[in-house]
Symmetry: C2
Subunit: 84 residues, 2 copies
């Protein structure tokens, strides 16, 4: 069994209204040293596969078909072995 961590982030060129609102709220709290807030998704999955490559392929299929919107988002997949 493999664990996948998938980071889905908005592309740099796309405006991130949630991030902007969060940045404003942090400023209101006096945390002026913080800038450039972007908010993405972190998706954790368990994958039953017989190799790490197969697990990665399945995670990529899931991203392409459902988890990420490729027009606006980038994704990054980390696979770790959890067989123990």
């Amino acid at each position: 069994m493999y664990k996948a961590k998938i980071h889905v982030t908005l592309r740099k060129s796309i405006l991130d209204p949630k991030g902007k609102a969060t940045h404003q709220a942090l400023q209101n709290l006096g945390l002026n040293q913080i800038n450039n807030v972007r908010i993405g998704k972190l998706i954790e999955l368990d994958i039953h596969a017989d190799s790490e490559d197969n697990a990665r392929e399945l995670a990529e299929t899931a991203c392409n078909q459902l988890l990420a919107n490729e027009v606006m988002e980038d994704y990054q997949i980390e696979i770790s072995d959890n067989s123990s």
Copy 2:
């Protein structure tokens, strides 16, 4: 300048309806090898601080005051130096 990546995840004991819906949708797509889907947030920030420790402290303050709901969520902070 430091970059912080903050992973905010629902505690294991808390039901994750978004994750459940995503899991169901993946099953409907025929991706039956995927289980245990949990969806969290990935927050990326730039922090102006004079040391990594200060940057981490600021990120923790931001998490405690705004970014994470400590009753239901856990967070994990990764700081990287981006001065170059």
